[in-house]
Symmetry: C2
Subunit: 461 residues, 2 copies
């Protein structure tokens, strides 16, 4: 379909001009002082969607949070309906001094455009608009109805997103969700993500003596919360680095042989990955490769630990209290609420006499996974094949996002169309988007509506 | 000897006036801005020692630290010589808002005098001056030569004390050291301390990835320093809460049956002790009582632990580094340098591949112990019996001080004459000294020179 490639290529400058304008709006959702900018970003997106021919475009308020943008383009109620998900808020820019050019002054160097939000996620929302125009140019009309939902709170954990989905469930009714907020394996290995991990996150607080005690007078005679928080964190994994919570693995969907084979085909350069991690050794659950460990297996992590004296020099105390931030990455079909209960009971079994403990969970995220043989995954695969021109492999994202809420509330499978690269430095200084990839994303989006129209069953009216 | 009791009683007001004047000098050695006050405190002590008739009184500079005071009163080179040790610096006063009366405005309420340093240690230095006068009034002359050394850096770990002792070893030559910086078991149970624990203190730093990593992208695939610092701290003790360092217990002098019997006679109220500790359960090495654990057995404590994100809310990271402050209380005859080596090798055996570690030790303290049947311990016991009028039991101090340096450098046994009470709140707000006890301390000091003269062999000139 050279018409799609040609159309995208011919309209490259308009895409870049739009991207430049949108990226100049510093829509940092984490910064209360930027709330006006997040709103301006939503308004900008709404105007862009209107220009692209969406019949209905609305700015959706959330319950006290940042607004989302909704747009819909209904061709026929007899056609399948797709929800496209992206987000218009961006990460903070600190440490700003590490940016080579200002984060909100988009700058092109070589094939890359540098700015906060370039690939995460404004670039990946915008390629859909060009893709839609290219599809219309190529096919005349789409074989699907499109609904676009651009969230404004993804970078702060989507605190109001599930509620928004539930409120607008009827408007968002669809047959499949296409998430464009991920990437491909590397620039030479186009791939389709098929799942993301879920998350359970909590604060564990251990309280011992009511005040710090002199370790000479009391040390060795009373339980020490700093020692005990360490013992708890140390017990999270067994000798095989498996998580020790009872029933933790019961619902885990095992990797199929086919998935393991395909995953093994990914040209994973462990040495390079370790360099990216600035780490000198791999670690993890026995019996799994690194790629499997970080994408397809659940984990427990100590994200923070503290207690007692942490300043310079020495203070000989038995601390009064100690704390840890502990999180679990989940994979399908683990349930955050169940894992919370497992951890509650695991903790209660282990906190020794003489210490009091509290555990506070903050908003679990469900894992999501769409099987390789699902028609929608196959449709994305074909769209990517046509845009990138090579064999498409499959990946899993180790992170956690609102995708599972989409799957659960909208009762639709989630597929991923994303073109980010591993070196795009999302969340870090000098975030960038690779422009040739961005254009291929627009092409893939153009092909996708056609492929999905063929793959999905016609809805019963 | 009613003459001693009467003398002490008759001069109570002068002791209180001296104490009031000295306690008003805020000689906080930890606070660089108080360096002038620490010096003023040394000068005050020197003047007081001169008034009491010491022939030689000198302010001794330390190598860049706070000054000590030295005084000597030689009766005859043919008599035994005693070094009396105390200190004139005091702990910081924070949190100052918890003091009922200002820490440097000594206030008498009931039988107690409240001020920072009241019992730790200015009160216990001053009772010696009155004791000396009382002894002279009772016996005409002492049967020993007295050397008094009042340190100015005890509350900051005596960083220059060992060097000072080595420099002045000849001047300080003696047959026994009397340390007055401890207490009795409780107000109804006069006792003599026979040992103090030593200390090894270190910072352990664990370094993993060069930066904090996204736990979704890297979690479960690289070693996590926060998890590993926890695993290390958790391995410090075995299931019996014994310290796991190889050879850690090899040099420990076991408690004799007699010592365990006498210790068991102490009216130790574990429930009350737990209330003081504001703790709800005891803990410790299997096979030992709480009193044995905190006085006569070595321990390992996590004094502080930290790594990763410790702020509000959540941050899903694999931290780049994690740290712990770990200390060991030692008992005779453990050697701090040996324990340091044991811990170095223990750590090196346990830090996993992929992490780099550093361990930094800060000034070990030797433990000290003088056997119950030592003539000097028996002399202190008799002096205490006469002053307190009851049976004298024996205790061990769980804390660590410069006493072991005195024993090692001066090659003399160390005995303890102290009258502090467990509720004197040393190092805490509302530190106090019990005035009847302080006067009994002066009496005991008066008796002690006579008892020591009888107990110690006449030195060969």
């Amino acid at each position: 379909m050279t018409v799609i490639r040609d159309y995208v290529s011919a309209h490259r400058d308009r895409l870049l001009a739009d991207l430049d304008a949108w990226l100049r709006i510093p829509s940092v959702s984490a910064d209360p002082e930027r709330a006006g900018d997040v709103r301006a970003s939503a308004e900008w997106a709404a105007a862009a969607l209107r220009r692209t021919g969406f019949g209905t475009v609305e700015v959706w308020e959330t319950d006290g949070g940042h607004p989302a943008v909704y747009a819909e383009r209904i061709v026929s109620l007899g056609l399948p309906t797709v929800v496209v998900y992206g987000h218009h808020d961006v990460q903070p820019v600190d440490p700003v001094e590490l940016w080579d050019t200002p984060p909100f002054e988009p700058t092109i160097r070589g094939d890359d455009l540098y700015a906060r939000g370039a690939v995460d996620d404004k670039g990946q929302v915008l390629f859909h608009l060009l893709g839609l125009e290219a599809a219309l140019a190529a096919y005349g009309e789409l074989g699907v109805n499109l609904k676009v939902l651009v969230e404004g709170e993804e970078e702060i954990g989507s605190p109001n997103f599930a509620a928004l989905l539930r409120r607008e469930r009827e408007r968002l009714r669809c047959d499949v969700v296409v998430v464009s907020d991920t990437g491909i394996f590397d620039k030479d290995t186009p791939s389709v993500c098929v799942g993301m991990r879920g998350l359970v996150y909590c604060d564990v607080d251990l309280y011992g003596p009511a005040t710090d005690l002199h370790s000479g007078m009391f040390g060795g005679g009373v339980p020490n919360p700093a020692t005990e928080i360490a013992r708890l964190c140390a017990q999270l994994h067994d000798a095989d680095n498996k998580v020790t919570l009872p029933s933790f693995y019961d619902r885990v969907v095992p990797l199929t042989d086919r998935e393991r084979e395909l995953m093994a085909e990914l040209p994973f350069d462990e040495a390079a990955w370790l360099r990216d991690a600035a780490s000198t050794a791999t670690w993890g659950e026995a019996g799994y490769t690194t790629l499997e460990r970080i994408g397809a297996r659940p984990t427990a992590e100590v994200n923070g630990i503290w207690g007692g004296y942490t300043g310079p020099g020495r203070k000989t105390i038995v601390p009064s209290e100690a704390h840890a931030k502990i999180s679990f990455r989940l994979v399908a079909d683990q349930d955050p609420a169940e894992v919370e209960e497992q951890f509650r009971s695991w903790l209660a079994d282990r906190v020794p006499v003489g210490l009091r403990h509290e555990v506070t969970f903050s908003g679990g995220v469900r894992p999501c996974l769409t099987p390789l043989d699902h028609p929608a995954v196959q449709a994305v695969t074909r769209a990517m094949e046509q845009a990138f021109g090579g064999r498409i492999l499959y990946t899993r994202e180790g992170g956690s996002g609102p995708e599972a809420d989409l799957a659960e509330v909208l009762e639709a499978p989630v597929v991923f169309l994303g073109v980010g690269l591993p070196d795009d430095r999302i969340h870090a200084p000098n975030e960038k988007v690779n422009l040739p990839n961005l254009l291929r994303g627009a092409e893939a989006a153009a092909y996708l509506w056609h492929e999905l129209a063929q793959a999905l069953p016609t809805p019963t009216a």
